[in-house]
Subunit: 562 residues, 2 copies
Amino acid sequence: MGINRTKMRWNGWGWADAPDPLSGNEAVWEWMASELGMGALMLTPAIPLEEIELPASRLSITALNGLAEIVGEEWVKTTKSDRASYARGKSYHDLLHLRAGNLSDAPDAVVFPANPLETLEIVQACSERHIALVPTGGGSSVVGGVTASPGKDQQGVVVLDTTRMGRVLTTDTDAMTAVVEAGAWGPELEEQLNEFGLTLGHYPQSFEFSTVGGWIAASGAGQQSSKFGRATRWLVGAKLATPKGFWTTECFPGSAAGPNLTDLVLGSEGTIGVITEATVRVQKKPQVKDYRGYLFKSFADGVTAARRISQAKLPVAMVRLSDADETHFFRTFSDAQKKKSFGRSIKKAIERQVLKSNGVPDRPCVMIIGIEGHQHDVDICQKKTAHIAKSLGAMAVGKSPGTQWYQGRFHGPYARDPMLDHGLGVDTLETSTRWSNIANLHETVLAAIDKAMREGAPVAGTHGIVMSHISHTYVDGASLYFTFVFPRDLEREVPQWLAIKKAATETIVEQGGTISHHHGVGTDHAAWLIEEKGPVGMNVLRAIKTELDANGVMNPGKLISQ
Amino acid sequence: MGINRTKMRWNGWGWADAPDPLSGNEAVWEWMASELGMGALMLTPAIPLEEIELPASRLSITALNGLAEIVGEEWVKTTKSDRASYARGKSYHDLLHLRAGNLSDAPDAVVFPANPLETLEIVQACSERHIALVPTGGGSSVVGGVTASPGKDQQGVVVLDTTRMGRVLTTDTDAMTAVVEAGAWGPELEEQLNEFGLTLGHYPQSFEFSTVGGWIAASGAGQQSSKFGRATRWLVGAKLATPKGFWTTECFPGSAAGPNLTDLVLGSEGTIGVITEATVRVQKKPQVKDYRGYLFKSFADGVTAARRISQAKLPVAMVRLSDADETHFFRTFSDAQKKKSFGRSIKKAIERQVLKSNGVPDRPCVMIIGIEGHQHDVDICQKKTAHIAKSLGAMAVGKSPGTQWYQGRFHGPYARDPMLDHGLGVDTLETSTRWSNIANLHETVLAAIDKAMREGAPVAGTHGIVMSHISHTYVDGASLYFTFVFPRDLEREVPQWLAIKKAATETIVEQGGTISHHHGVGTDHAAWLIEEKGPVGMNVLRAIKTELDANGVMNPGKLISQ
């Protein structure tokens, strides 16, 4: 029954009472400082909510009463805690603002409709009154997709939280589809589907704090997209509450009746309506999950293996290839975390010897191949993928790295808050391109981020770390995901980040990558969308928006910049 | 270098000099008459072009000169033969008009641009002058998709033939994509791709006389869609000449940068622009093709087998299941054609005995399973599909029915003209639905067509034949294709057809099918599109059309009824 945002960190990731995974581990911070060419890290705690003043509400009593009449008084929330929790998403950029006590984007109210009809009434009431409406599920956008800012001539912002609508309504095990309410968050959805032996299988890193509707609106991808597909592949049809009324899109298995308008809902980012229900493809819950590691001598060899696995249409769930720097970083990070463990140096020396005798260089590239399904099918696929990996000189290193990755697959975002508490900046960005351009895009984006981090460093001589991996593979190409860590310039945190973001995105656009593989557009990529859609395409997008949201109240400034 | 329409039958199917496949075979006509409850068939030849007068051209000399300035005088054609050839598509409805000498829809000119730039200039010239522009590739639409009729306040119609643009421009064997000119017709495209060992694998029944651009514009499907995909699966990106300029859509392997606008080109039916180029997924030319037949005791058993094969994700190219009536019809049709062959009755008696001892009823349902690829993979897939078929009580009847189907896979339309010459009506229509609704949709549509044919019969007691097959299967459902033959009411040919069409389509809509699985919308389905898209969706479609084609010159009346 919904994600209770007031139990989550309003200015960070996860539950408010979750333990700090790096607490008391000074070794990690020492190692991190040395990696960045710094002496020591400083403590930079966030400003607590108590010390922050929120802007006064912009909504009239009449307007608030109007909302309460629709959803009931208890479902219109206006407390400081609520308004702060819904001010922004979960990007590094968002956290900079929130941690600095900038809550200028706090919404005036948060409403929780119980059903599609209440949702429609809220949408239409906001449209009539020219109040900006920001739909949100888990609120985990990392591209400014849920920033609660008003558009031109709009005097207030209401956030619409969909998470009271979280039920699986029907399942059709002949068609292998389910009709679900869009506010179902990851664990809630899977729990219900699992009861029927089914799964959607959509596990983004944000799984614990994101919803079906959000996955569709942002056109997202789960980590196991090779088997379960991204939202574009599992969405069959959707129901939206738009200012023009309900819109239920087509739901046929193969139709030639004009353009498939369901596709316009994917990536619509709340700008044309609120997704209230979705028909989605489900699969049988896999019997076994087999995740294994391989060490490649070079990134190029790993890329070739990933391409061959994809083009051989082997039924893998995931092929994830880290570059040498990422492989090194997470290995040494993990070592730094476990520094106390006895006998480690002997074990490591033996390990190094084994790797050396197998021709693995000092800085290999790790690939995790995940396969899910029936034991028999998994075994066959495992043998075939191992064969391809080995044919490219990889050394199989067994299930342990796979299990370790799997267990930690949602943990990444939890490490960010402690890093921000230690004067560091950390962000990620992602793209995709055709196979023949992967090497070029990988190199040029790494170089652009590295250069921008050096140029923006607060102290000369310090620098950042940037690393990359492929995590989603297709017949024609793959995604590239970049993680970068750098010493924060406390005097100009936002401009420092903006410069890095700009350098990276411009390079991506110039070098033939998409501005986003699964994070979306939001506000942060909106300026570059025209490079991808072209001026004619942007006008098509605007025409659709204008048709459905003539008053421009739906999530203003997202997707299409104003 | 283009399909030369003047060498094709202007009022029928295929090359003008192609032999009549049923010529002199009176046995077939006798059999057909008896199947329809008729005494004998009469001869009803089409009115020859020489006897038909075309309406005068509506275009001014200035307008014609304007077109000639763009493409060169020799590429603006206005002869009677050209105008007649481009008046309409290839539906039964079209042929009724053409054979009756109704050429009121003949275009005023046909232009043949050599490249995208000339195409754009034609599009923009027509938009400025308010002349209707009908883009065409092979012109094989069977839903009125290329009828050359003007819209409101438009004084003339120009048909734009894309087939001078037929080259494969580039191939990327890393991404397994190719950039092709959209006017490439089937054989021309495959010939070029085959030189690189590649194939698109898109083989609709109209393959010989249709183009890549047409396949995209109509959101079509080839017969081997399970392996090669329908246009929605193989199209990566497109370039269009629109009244607002060139529009090149996104072309990334997985992008979350807003709605994928390439999807709006699929099924756009020439109403927003002319597709000039496309990036398409290609595959390696298959080493072997294995097509085999199975006889099922019931349609329901066959449907279950088709569903299991699809949901087991076996890499088949095609699963095609005829119902008992279709199986019977083509068997007896084939027998009637070969009546002279000696010893047939003894052979048939033996055959019947073998079938009986295998539990196959008198009226079984034949399934053709086609598998294409490497020998080893084909063998494995063949065993698995055979296992599923047999587990549902089917009898394997070997390669002969498969080979026979494969060899005749483009022949269907050639039998229509002789049937029309013999006083018969013949049409096909198709839909798709989820697996759990297949049996219901199959039965109700058959009943609706049968009833409408009886009600429209020219002589009491005569009736039609209607039969059906599944030819495209998906994880969630399948297509249903209906063929029906009936005695034509020569006094009211068009109303007779319209009544059948209406009865079938209304039943499809009521019973949860799509109005088209691969024929498209055109003019013939336009009235029902709102049932599928909803009023909000229709307004979105109109908004897109208005944005790109403000003067409404692009293929007026198609997709969106006026």
